[in-house]
C-alpha cells in the first residue's frame, strides 16, 4: 500500500432514518440518506469542498466559512458542513464567486499563521497548506507582518505528542474530538477573537490535565499544532498497512503508517468496525516496546535455573527443546508435559500450540491465560445460552436504553468501547453500575449513573439474585419471551428460588452492603427501561463464584427478554486482545476448537483423520492442576507461549514452587519475563508488527494482523512452533498463516467460512461465519438460542472461604488502569510509565487514618498467602474496609498476596477478594528484596560469541 490519507468526508454519516433525498450537485443527480450534510454528499460523489473546521468524526461546527456553497433559490452562501441535503436542492460547489470568497477566508487564516512550512513537521500533511492550494491562494493582501501567535511556548509535556499553539487556527476540531469522540472534555477554547486559544482544562499542561492521551485531538487537528513526536522525529509517513491492536479485547484497527521500515505512527482506522476511527493511548502510542533494548533476539538455553543463560543458534535451541520433551515423556509418561497458549498471540499461533500438545505430545494438557480471566464466561454462557461468547457487536450499545455495568471498568480496561458507551449515555441512556469501587463512569462530565450499587467484594451472586427477586416478585419479567425461547419449567424452578424471602434485597443488604431500595430501583430500571444491555468484566469472573455470576447475569437477561436483538444482550469485556480467539481455538484442556469436548468421538475422529494420529479422549490438566502435579512430581515439562504466569497467576509462591519442580520450562516471549526466571529454554518471540495472522476481539470479530516489518528475532511465532513440531517428528509444512486458518475452518463449524480472502473482502468477520451466515453474525441467538432453549440455572449464593478476620480485616480487590496492560511487560517499556510509574494501594481515608497512614507512605500488604509492600494512595473511590491495587509492576507482585481460592467450576482464581491487613512499613519487603536479587541472577546472559 502506498501512502494516501483516509478520505475525510467532512461530517459524520447521518443518523439512519431510512429515508433518502435526491438533489443535484454540480449538475449531477445524487441520492443520499436524509440528514446528510451537503459537504458529505458532495464528498461521497467525488467532489470535495474546501474545509477547515469540519472533519468526519465530529459534528460540524460551521466556524471557518471555507466550505461555502451556492444553493439555488437560497440567499447567501450557506456553509455546506452545517446544511443538510433536501429533495430537489440544486447545489453548486465551484463558482467564481465562491472561489473568491474562499480565497478571502483563506487569506485571513494564512496572514496570521507562521509560514515556516518547509521546516514544519506537518509539511505535506497539513490541511491548511492543502486547502490554501485548493482555493488557489497566491497572495495575501494583508501582508505577513501582522500579529501572529508565533513564539508561544510549545507544550511538550505529553510523551507522545507536542502542542505548538503558534500554529493553531482555532478550528476547535480538537475540542470537539475530545468531547464527542473520547468523552473526556479535557480541552477548551479560552479567550476571544485573535486571543482565543486551545487549552487543556484549567490552563494546565497536557500531562497534568485530565487528558488521557487517546490521540483523538491529534488526529483531528488539521495543522501541525498537535503533532505526534514521532512525526517530528522521523518525518511524515510514505506507506500505510492496516492492522489490529495487540493490547486489549476491543480490537481497534489501525493504519500502521511507515516511513521505509520504520513505524512512524499508528492512526486509528475509520473503517474499523470495532473502533470506528478511535483509539486509546496504548494502541495509538505505546508500541515502542517492539524496539526496546530489553527485547531478547537470540534463543538461549541453560540446564539449571541457577545458571546464566547461554545464547545458542535457533537449530540448537529447537533441537534441545524437542529432545527435552521427548526425554521427559519417555521417563515420566505421556501426560508429564503440557503447554500454555497465549491470548496475545494470533489465532493461528494459538491453534498451533494446542495442536503441538494434542498431536505431538499425545495429551490434552493445554491451557491458556483465559483460565485466569474469562473461563467462567465460557462455562456460564455455554451452560445457559449454548455458546461461549458475548451476544452483541459493539455498535449495539448505541441502541441500548439501559446499560448495566458490573465488575468492569470500561473507561480504563476497554477505553475505546468505554468512549462509545459514554456517547450513548450522553444521548440519554440510563446507567447502572454494580462495583465495589466508584469507577469513573459513575460520575464523569455529562454522565451520572442512575444507580451505583457499591457491593462488598464477593457478593455478586447474592446481588444478582436480589435483582432477579425484584423482577420476578414484581412480575416485571417478559413471559412471552420466556415461553417462546426458554424452558418454562426451568424458569418456574428458578423463579421459585429467587422469590424466596431470603433472596430479597432487604434480606441480603447486610451481606452486600447495598441499600435495598437502591437495588430495587436498579432492578426495576433494568427490567422496564427499554433495551437493557449488560456489560461485565473480571469483577464478575475472578471470584469463587465467577461461573455462577455469569449464569445469574444470563438468567436476568433471559427473564427480561433482553437477548437476541440489537441494543441488549450479555457482553463479557475481554481483557487481552485475543482472549476470545485463544478460547475459540481449542486452548482449554477439555475442548477442541469451537468448544467441542475431547470425549466426543465424532469430533475427535475428525481431528484424528486430519492429523493422522490417535488423540487422547480424556481432559487434560488446567494451569493450577499442572502446577500441583509438578509439585507432586508427575508433571515435568511446560511449553509457554507469550504468557507470564509467575506474575499474572495467583499465589506466586505456589506458581514458583510448581515451576521450580519442572525439568524443562520453555518460555517463548519478547522479554525475559518473570516466568523466564524459572525457565530452561528461551525462544525469542516476535511482535504483532512482525507477523501475519488474525485476532478475535470481544465481539467475536476476527480481524487481520498484518506484518509491517521483518521479525527482529528472525521468525514469526507460528514459525517457531512449527520448527518445534517438526523437531518432534510432525510433518507440518505451513508456508503462511492463511493455511493454518484454512485448517481451522475445515475443522471448526463456526469458522467454516473464515478464510483470508473472505477477511480481506469483508474487512472482518464475526463468528459464526459459515454457510448459514456468510457475512458473519453481529448479534447472536436472534431466532433461538444456540443450545435450543435458553436454560435458567439456579445460582445459590455460596460465600467465599476467603474471609476477613481479626488478622486480616480488609478486603483487597485488584484491577488495572488505562495506561498499562496486564503484567505491564509491554507498557512498562514505553513512555506510558509517565502516568503510572508504580502500583499503588488505594485505601479509604478512614482505614488509612486508623493505621496512621498518610498518602504516599510505604505500607506492608499482608494476606494468608504472602506479603508485599507498596505506596498508599488515599481515596474515597474505595469503600471503607476495601483496598485496591493494580498488578502491572513485577516489583510489587500483587499476586504474592492473592490466594489459591478459585471459581468452583473453572478454577479461575479469585483475584477480586483477598483478606488482607495493611500497616506502615519502611520500604520493600524481604521477599521483594530477595526476589529482585533472584531475578538479577537468573537474567544473566552469556553471549553467543563468548560461549563459542
Amino acid at each position: 500500500m502506498t501512502f494516501t490519507r483516509e478520505t475525510d468526508h467532512g461530517t459524520p454519516p447521518a443518523i439512519a432514518t431510512g429515508k433518502s433525498v435526491t438533489l443535484t450537485i454540480d449538475g449531477a443527480q445524487v441520492t443520499m440518506p436524509e440528514g446528510t450534510s451537503i459537504m458529505r454528499a458532495a464528498s461521497l460523489t467525488g467532489c470535495s469542498i474546501p474545509k477547515l473546521c469540519a472533519t468526519d468524526n465530529v459534528e460540524s461546527f460551521g466556524s471557518c466559512r471555507l466550505c461555502l456553497v451556492e444553493v439555488e433559490g437560497r440567499a447567501g452562501y450557506p456553509a455546506s458542513c452545517t446544511t443538510p441535503v433536501a429533495d430537489g436542492m440544486i447545489v453548486r460547489t465551484q463558482t467564481e464567486r465562491l472561489k473568491q470568497l474562499r480565497r478571502g477566508v483563506m487569506e485571513l487564516y494564512i496572514s496570521d499563521h507562521p509560514l515556516d512550512c518547509l521546516t514544519c513537521p506537518a509539511n505535506g500533511d497539513c490541511e491548511l497548506q492543502e486547502q490554501a492550494g485548493a482555493v488557489g491562494l497566491r497572495e495575501v493582501r494583508y501582508g505577513y507582518d501582522g500579529a501572529t501567535n508565533m513564539g508561544q511556548a510549545k507544550d511538550q509535556s505529553n510523551p507522545y505528542f507536542d502542542f505548538d499553539p503558534s500554529k493553531c487556527i482555532v478550528c476547535s476540531r480538537c475540542v470537539r474530538a475530545c468531547d464527542e469522540v473520547q468523552g473526556t472534555f479535557a480541552l477548551t477554547i479560552e479567550g476571544r477573537g485573535f486571543d482565543s486559544k486551545v487549552s487543556p482544562s484549567q490552563g494546565q499542561d497536557f500531562l497534568s490535565s485530565e487528558c488521557v492521551s487517546c490521540g483523538a485531538c491529534v488526529q483531528a487537528c488539521p495543522t501541525a499544532t498537535l503533532t505526534e513526536k514521532k512525526v517530528v522525529e522521523i518525518g511524515t509517513p510514505d506507506r500505510a498497512v492496516v492492522t489490529t491492536c495487540a493490547y486489549c479485547g476491543v480490537g481497534c484497527t489501525f493504519r500502521a503508517e511507515m516511513r521505509g521500515e520504520e513505524l512512524v505512527r499508528m492512526v486509528p482506522w475509520k473503517e474499523g468496525k470495532a473502533n470506528r476511527g478511535h483509539s486509546c493511548v496504548k494502541g495509538r502510542f505505546a508500541w515502542g516496546y517492539a524496539q526496546h533494548q530489553d527485547r531478547i533476539l537470540k534463543p538461549m538455553i541453560r540446564s539449571s535455573v541457577t545458571e546464566p543463560w547461554r545464547e545458542v543458534s535457533w537449530d540448537e535451541a529447537i533441537a534441545y527443546t524437542a529432545s527435552e520433551f521427548r526425554r521427559i515423556q519417555a521417563q515420566y509418561g505421556a501426560r508429564s508435559v503440557g503447554g500454555i497458549t497465549s491470548s496475545r498471540c494470533t489465532n493461528e499461533e494459538t491453534f498451533l500450540v494446542q495442536k503441538l500438545i494434542r498431536q505431538g505430545f499425545g495429551n490434552n494438557n493445554v491451557d491458556t491465560c483465559a483460565r485466569v480471566c474469562h473461563s467462567p464466561t465460557g462455562y456460564g454462557l455455554k451452560t445457559t445460552f449454548g455458546t461461549s461468547a458475548g451476544t452483541q457487536d459493539f455498535d449495539s450499545v448505541m441502541k441500548s436504553d439501559v446499560i448495566l455495568v458490573i465488575g468492569a471498568n470500561p473507561t480504563d480496561g476497554h477505553p475505546v468501547f468505554g468512549s462509545r458507551m459514554k456517547q450513548r449515555l450522553r444521548q440519554g441512556a440510563k446507567l447502572i453500575v454494580i462495583d465495589p469501587r466508584r469507577i469513573d463512569l459513575v460520575k464523569s462530565p455529562h454522565i451520572e449513573a442512575a444507580h451505583h450499587l457499591p457491593l462488598r467484594p464477593g457478593t455478586n451472586v447474592a446481588m444478582m439474585t436480589a435483582l432477579a427477586h425484584v423482577i420476578v416478585t414484581e412480575k416485571l419479567y417478559d413471559e412471552a419471551f420466556i415461553r417462546e425461547r426458554c424452558d418454562w419449567d426451568e424458569f418456574e424452578d428458578w423463579a421459585a428460588f429467587v422469590s424466596q424471602p431470603s433472596r430479597s434485597p432487604e434480606a441480603v443488604e447486610p451481606l452486600t452492603g447495598v441499600k435495598a431500595q437502591d437495588a430495587r430501583a436498579a432492578a426495576r430500571l433494568y427490567a422496564t427501561g427499554g433495551n437493557g444491555a449488560i456489560y461485565y468484566g473480571l469483577g464478575v469472573t475472578e471470584h469463587s463464584q465467577g461461573s455462577s455470576t455469569v449464569m445469574a447475569i444470563a438468567n436476568l437477561a433471559m427473564a427480561t427478554g433482553n437477548v437476541g436483538r440489537e441494543g441488549v444482550g450479555v457482553n463479557p469485556l475481554r481483557g487481552q486482545n485475543n482472549v476470545q480467539g485463544s478460547c475459540d481455538m481449542g486452548s482449554f484442556p477439555h475442548e477442541f476448537s469451537g468448544y467441542r469436548h475431547v470425549s466426543d468421538d465424532a469430533v475427535r475422529g475428525l481431528f484424528e483423520r486430519k492429523w493422522g494420529v490417535t488423540l487422547d479422549a480424556e481432559p487434560g490438566l488446567r494451569i493450577p492442576n499442572m502446577l500441583d502435579a509438578a509439585t507432586e512430581g508427575s508433571f515435568k515439562g511446560l511449553f509457554i507461549q507469550g504468557e507470564d504466569i509467575l506474575q499474572s497467576d495467583p499465589n506466586t509462591h505456589h506458581v514458583a514452587a510448581g515451576l521450580a519442580a519442572m525439568e524443562c520450562v520453555v518460555v517463548q516471549d519478547l522479554f525475559l519475563n518473570e516466568t523466564a526466571n524459572y525457565a530452561h529454554i528461551f525462544l525469542p518471540g516476535s511482535t504483532f508488527l512482525e507477523k501475519d495472522g488474525t485476532f478475535t476481539n470481544a465481539e467475536r470479530r476476527i480481524q487481520m494482523v498484518r506484518k509491517v516489518m521483518a521479525p527482529l528475532n528472525g521468525y514469526a511465532d507460528w514459525e517457531i512452533v512449527q520448527l518445534v513440531a517438526q523437531a518432534v517428528g510432525l510433518d507440518w509444512s505451513y508456508t503462511h498463516p492463511s493455511e493454518i486458518m484454512d485448517e481451522i475452518a475445515e475443522l471448526t463449524p463456526t469458522f467454516a467460512g473464515v478464510h483470508y480472502a473472505r477477511l480481506e473482502a469483508e474487512g472482518s468477520l464475526q463468528w459464526p461465519a459459515n454457510e448459514a451466515a456468510p457475512h458473519g453474525t453481529p448479534t447472536m441467538h436472534i431466532d433461538g438460542f444456540v443450545r435450543g432453549k435458553g436454560k435458567f440455572v439456579v445460582t445459590d449464593y455460596v460465600p467465599t472461604d476467603e474471609k476477613t478476620g481479626p488478622r486480616f480485616p480488609l478486603l483487597l480487590t485488584t484491577g488495572r488502569i488505562l495506561s498499562h496492560y496486564n503484567v505491564g511487560a509491554q507498557t512498562r517499556r514505553t513512555a506510558n510509565t509517565a502516568w503510572h510509574p508504580e502500583d499503588r494501594l488505594e485505601i479509604h481515608p478512614a482505614d488509612a487514618e486508623n493505621r496512621g497512614i498518610k498518602d504516599g507512605d510505604w505500607v506492608a500488604l499482608r494476606s494468608r498467602a504472602g506479603e508485599t509492600a507498596l505506596r498508599a494512595l488515599i481515596t474515597e473511590r474505595v469503600a471503607p474496609g476495601v483496598v485496591y491495587t493494580t498488578f502491572h509492576h513485577p516489583d510489587t507482585q500483587a499476586n504474592v498476596i492473592t490466594t489459591d481460592y478459585s471459581d468452583w467450576a473453572t478454577n479461575c482464581p479469585e483475584y477480586k477478594v483477598t483478606a488482607v491487613q495493611v500497616a506502615l512499613s519502611n520500604g520493600p519487603s524481604h521477599w521483594q528484596e530477595g526476589y529482585a536479587e533472584h531475578s538479577r541472577l537468573s537474567r544473566r546472559i552469556v553471549p553467543l560469541e563468548a560461549a563459542e
Binding site: R335, Q545, H597, A629, F808
Partner: protein, 80 residues
Amino acid sequence: MNDENAVMSTADRLIYMANQIARNVAVMGQDEAAAMVEDHIRSFWDPMMRRQIVALAAERPDALSPIAAAAVGRIAVHCR
C-alpha cells in the same frame, strides 16, 4: 481455614475442589447435585486427578461432603 500462611497440599486442594463444586450445586437436591458433580469431574478433571480423588475418598472418608462423596463413589466404579 485458619489464619496461617496457606498453600494447600494437592490432596487438600482436590478435596476442597470437589466439596466446593458440591456446595455450589447443593441447591439442586442430593441426587441431582451428585449427578452434576460427577459429570463435572468427569468433564473437567484429568484422569490422574480423578484417580487421586477416588483414592482420597477411601483414605479420608470424612473429608468429602455427602454430595461430593456420592459423586466420587460413582466415579470410582468406572475408574480403573
